[in-house]
């Protein structure tokens, strides 16, 4: 359930909700971290749930000593009223069999909040790509018809996620998103609750997925124009995204000199 930080629940009517799928390489979660950190979004509440593994830590977006002591939990909601943007960040994995109940509760809350649309940032494992997908862009989209209208006028070289059989040789064409975590469940729930939901995903391999997250937010930015590029040079825009302070030591502590 959503628990606001302040006394009353904020009004999220007509806001765009960005959220990650907990998927291969944690790319969606890294992408949402970049968005919250770059836009300096304010925490407005928690999504208190028994569906995610508990964890706590100090402020992952700290920029100074003064703001480093704010406690963060596993599911928090941030907003930027000037752009009518709200972001949900998930920082841990789902407990067994709790992914579907989580998606149901979350989208019920989204429906009651009257958000304009939901954008899920996700990923799928690149080794599952078929021949056609190997030759095309690794960025794919899936969206409800109600979202399509708002994207129509933008010029992108995006491609729609192809329907492919989840089991080879079996002719059942549905969306198969290998290692996409709860992406498919969110799509199915979104469709049944008639929520305008879009998925942006990238085919990735596990490893250092920071470049994948940067690529995904760049693509999202082409659509939503969250941040304006400084100039027309597309290679410069990657520098505009602020890496959160909590991304240090992603490979663990320094090695002991005794080893060498």
């Amino acid at each position: 359930m959503f628990v606001p930080c302040g006394e009353s629940a904020p009004d999220l009517a007509a806001y765009t909700l960005l959220m990650p799928a907990v998927s291969v390489g944690n790319v969606g979660q890294l992408a949402v971290d970049l968005i919250i950190s770059t836009l300096n979004m304010c925490k407005i509440g928690y999504f208190y749930t028994d569906c995610l593994v508990p964890m706590v830590g100090n402020n992952p977006y700290a920029t100074a000593e003064e703001n480093s002591a704010e406690l963060s939990t596993n599911a928090e909601v941030y907003s930027l009223p000037s752009k009518k943007l709200v972001a949900l960040q998930l920082r841990s994995i789902f407990i067994n069999y709790k992914s579907k109940p989580f998606c149901e509760k979350l989208l019920s809350w989204v429906k009651s909040s009257n958000c304009a649309k939901v954008i899920v940032l996700s990923s799928s494992h690149s080794y599952h790509r078929n021949d056609l997908q190997l030759c095309s862009t690794p960025f794919k989209y899936l969206w409800a018809p109600s979202v399509q209208k708002s994207v129509q006028n933008k010029s992108h070289n995006w491609e729609e996620m192809e329907k492919s059989p989840c089991i080879p040789e079996i002719n059942d064409s549905e969306f198969c998103i290998p290692e996409g975590g709860n992406t498919k469940t969110l799509c199915d729930e979104g469709r049944s609750k008639e929520i305008p939901l879009a998925v942006l995903l990238k085919f990735v391999s596990k490893g250092d997925n920071i470049p994948d997250a940067l690529g995904l937010v760049e693509h999202l930015n082409e659509w939503l124009q969250i941040i304006k590029p400084r100039c027309n040079d597309p290679t410069a825009s990657a520098l505009l995204w602020k890496i959160p302070s909590s991304w240090r030591l992603l490979s663990g502590s320094s090695l002991s000199p005794v080893l060498f």
């Binding site: 628990v3 907990v22 998927s23 291969v24 390489g25 944690n26 928690y46 208190y48 028994d50 593994v53 508990p54 964890m55 706590v56 830590g57 100090n58 402020n59 992952p60 700290a62 480093s68 002591a69 704010e70 406690l71 939990t73 596993n74 841990s92 994995i93 789902f94 407990i95 067994n96 069999y97 709790k98 992914s99 080794y127 989840c166 290998p178 290692e179 996409g180 975590g181 709860n182 992406t183 498919k184 469940t185 596990k206 302070s245 909590s246 991304w247 240090r248 030591l249 992603l250 663990g252 502590s253 320094s254 090695l255 002991s256 000199p257 005794v258």
Partner: protein, 289 residues
Amino acid sequence: MAATFFGEVVKAPCRAGTEEEEEDEEERRETPEDREVRRQLARKREVRLFRRQTKTSLEVALLEKYPCSKFIIAIGNNAVAFLSSFVMNSGVWEEVGCAKLWNEWCRTTDTTHLSPAEAFCVFYHLKSNPSVFLCQCTCYVAEDQQYQWLEKVFGSCPRKNMQVTILTCRHVTDYKTSESTSSLHSPFLKALKTQNFKEPPCCSLLEQPNIAHDLPAAVLSYCQVWGIPAVLYLCYTDVMKLDLVTVEAFKPILSSRSWKGLVKKYTRGNMSADGPACACRISPRAQRY
């Protein structure tokens, strides 16, 4: 997929957790008998609170049954030993309940005489001030049981006028730092506190990218979300078994303002070894001193 050193291809664990598709596939293929087995397993894994003396279950959540101004929770052998030695020996504590749970790692005991080798989770209150509660928990509370434990202990009406302190240990190799871990002088204490905890903690705060998890994180998250003042003291140690040096690393907490009146002044000479956890053998590291 990944290849091992010997060339066999195995399914590597996923950083993003259990495969969604596998769970969906399992649920689609589930027969009524499978569903019944899953229901029975869920019932077996339920967390129950009861009174050992009368062998009766607690009908309501522990802190809904009793008023609480202070709640100290020790999780793990060393934290439990610290409370036994320094806090429980300073007053008379009465047992008010016990958590009974089972998971793949442990089963809590039903007996009234606890031994250090057994896993237990017992709740006490101070006879001279019954609003002061203490929990000693040596059992592992699994991920799917942590939320239940919170509901059974704290209930559904969180109280903002109580203060919660949680003590636990982690292995020093879990601590991420730009220095090499061999240069760290363990054991050492770090703190995490909720927004409404206004007292200065007894040690430095836990720096990012370090995090806490398991039951201590579940309790602290609950307190943060519901606005309860709470602090978690994490002792990073290289000895996770019962160890005198690790137990003593918690001593700075004794000087907390909120712990005034709870503890007698202790010197090494008069430290008592009462309490179930302290009756255990001392670790080899302590024997070297």
